[in-house]
């Protein structure tokens, strides 16, 4: 138990003030391993993220960045969390029960998966799966959109259109395999943001998109996050993408934190050789 815990338990009093320093999420010495004795997948990773802030987590494949995303959702199985804490809304998610996590996922913490095709059940129409989501979070979606609960589905379809899905009401009658990866990716963005979660995790969200579209969408999300006070974690191997949207960047390598800093500072004068090499390799 540390200062971060105290800060979070004091959350209730502080929330009334306009403070931006109270983190939405505080990860403390998070350690994950595949099985006892094996190399650590994550080794004492710590960071905090404030409302409205966008944090980039940049690393190469095998750096542990997807594991980090799954830990925050507590979907890291079969890996186990060996130490450290994930403090969110006054509770340690590293020790939270599955029942607690079910009340948080989708509604308070949303994840946009890296493979949009794998994120939809191939046997049900997209509309069917959107309907399921809306049923699960009807009130939150309606409140976020400022409409009556009965109009939550329409609001969600409208969101899809604002993310670039044309004629959403008709298009969602299709099955996932009939949509392009890019379109599925946009639908995931729309769903994840619809209930206005406090924490939004984007895991390689733009692998299916062209660079201009990716930059624009991620920049839009970051802007939206700022306005609504959503804490956003952008996980990517693409430092160029992180650079366009993130306030701070955390560099991860083989499960350990190499460096963390303000975007401009990290790009301009990184302290470690690895981070400098990453910056150099991003823009040539």
């Amino acid at each position: 138990m540390s200062t971060i815990v105290c800060m979070l338990t004091g959350n209730v009093h502080l929330q009334t003030g306009p403070s931006l320093s109270v983190p939405v999420l505080a990860v403390e010495d998070l350690t994950v391993c595949a099985h006892p004795g094996a190399r650590l997948v994550l080794d004492r990773v710590s960071f905090t993220i404030a409302p409205g802030e966008t944090l980039g987590v940049v690393g190469e494949s095998g750096s542990g960045k997807t594991t980090l995303a799954r830990c925050l959702m507590r979907q890291q199985q079969p890996l186990s969390i060996d130490g450290g804490g994930i403090w969110f809304a006054g509770a340690d998610l590293a020790r939270a029960t599955e029942r607690t996590m079910r009340t948080l996922r989708g509604r308070h913490i949303a994840l946009v998966d890296q493979d949009p095709i794998a994120a939809f059940d191939p046997l049900f129409t997209i509309g069917d799966q959107i309907g399921e989501f809306v049923t699960s979070h009807r009130t939150a979606i309606a409140t976020a959109a400022g409409v009556a609960t009965a109009e939550a589905l329409d609001a969600t379809l409208g969101r899809l259109e604002s993310f670039g899905v044309r004629d959403a009401a008709a298009a969602v009658h299709a099955w996932p395999h009939q949509w392009s990866r890019g379109m599925l990716q946009r639908a995931l963005f729309a769903l994840a943001t619809a209930p206005a979660p406090e924490l939004l995790i984007l895991d390689e969200p733009t692998a299916a998109l062209d660079a201009p579209v990716a930059d624009r969408l991620v920049a839009d999300l970051a802007r939206l996050a700022k306005v609504r006070g959503v804490a956003t974690i952008l996980i990517t191997h693409d430092l160029g993408l992180a650079a366009t949207a993130c306030d701070r960047i955390l560099v991860l390598r083989n499960g350990t934190m190499v460096e963390m800093g303000e975007t401009a500072a990290l790009l301009g004068n990184a302290r470690t050789d690895y981070a400098r090499a990453l910056v150099a390799s991003a823009m040539w």
Binding site: G106, D113, A119, L123, T125, E132, W175
Partner: protein, 314 residues
């Protein structure tokens, strides 16, 4: 989709025609002289047979006409559902088959219903609760069930429920109580196979990324299991389950024998034993058609369950 369905049905018809030719051919070439067999059956084993009576029998069954003519006659009769008469007792084959099929259908329907009701929840839940005591019990029972011969289970049930407890009749047909033990015996076999398959299919389905994604979106667990996991798991299981249905519809010889339930299985065995060619031909043709129809049905069902197969076949 409609053109696909039409194409499949037409294809199935062609296969059926070929099957009819093949069964006819195979049986023509089968060892054992049908004429002699009929004569022996009619006049007794040790009796000296006159050439006249043999010639009469030959004429009767048309054995002296050319092969294609024989097949043509047989096929055109077949089209009118005239399957000829049994060489043994002279009854129309269609009647014999219809009677046997009614009995087999009764038994099969009861067994399949039992299997569906038991295996779907058991297989699904064992898969969902993998590694728990429930799963262990299910897997052990299923292993036991598949290791145990069907007829042995039948005998066991007779000993317990009719000899010792006297709850159900052990033998023959009559009211619904006669159906209980044979249906239970046959149903257990199907349940065991289907539940095991469904369990592993469920485990596989639950490990899919879209299930984790649905959980991540905060979809209720009951919905994830009852809709997404179940439907994904059923796709591979349906094919096997349908084949099981086909097998029991052809007649389960062992179970019919143990319970004295004279269905298609026993009729077939008796016909083979007596070289009753019209009955054998009709039976072989029936089982071929049954398999073709059930396969067709499975394809349509799979296409309905999985839209991706619809796209590739359209």
């Amino acid at each position: 989709m409609i053109s696909y369905a039409l194409g499949r049905v037409l294809g199935a018809l062609v296969v059926m025609l070929l099957v009819s030719l093949l069964t006819f051919l195979l049986l023509q070439m089968a060892p054992g002289d049908a004429v002699l067999a009929i004569a022996r059956a009619r006049y007794g084993d040790g009796v000296a047979l006159s050439p006249e009576s043999l010639a009469r029998i030959m004429d009767e069954i048309g054995a002296n006409r050319p092969f294609l003519v024989q097949w043509g006659h047989w096929a055109s009769d077949l089209a009118r559902l005239d399957l000829g008469v049994s060489l043994i007792d002279g009854r129309p084959v269609a009647d014999i088959l219809a009677e046997g099929f009614c009995r087999t259908l009764q038994l099969a329907l009861a067994a399949v219903a039992l299997a569906a009701v038991l295996s779907i929840p058991l297989g699904l839940l064992a898969g969902v609760w993998r590694g728990t005591w429930f799963d262990s019990v299910c897997v052990s029972l299923a292993t036991l069930g598949s290791a145990m011969p069907n007829w042995w289970l039948g005998v066991l049930l007779i000993v317990v429920f009719s000899v010792n407890l006297g709850w159900f009749p052990a033998f023959g047909r009559g009211d619904a109580s006669h159906l209980v033990l044979p249906a239970l015996t046959l149903g257990t076999g199907i349940t065991v196979t289907t539940a095991r398959l469904l369990r592993s299919a469920t485990v596989e389905a639950l490990s899919a990324r879209h299930i984790a994604a649905a959980r991540g979106r905060g979809i209720r667990e009951s919905r994830i299991i009852g809709r997404h996991a179940l439907r994904n798991a059923l796709v591979p299981v349906i094919t096997i389950f349908a084949l099981e249905i086909a097998f029991v519809l052809e007649g389960a010889v062992a179970v019919e024998y143990v319970f004295g339930w004279r269905g298609l299985g026993l009729i077939f065995i008796e016909a083979v034993d007596a070289r009753d060619y019209p009955v054998i031909q009709a039976m072989v043709l029936f089982s071929a058609i049954l398999f073709i129809v059930i396969n067709l049905f499975v394809d349509f069902l799979t296409a309905w369950l999985d839209p991706r197969t619809r796209a590739t076949i359209g």
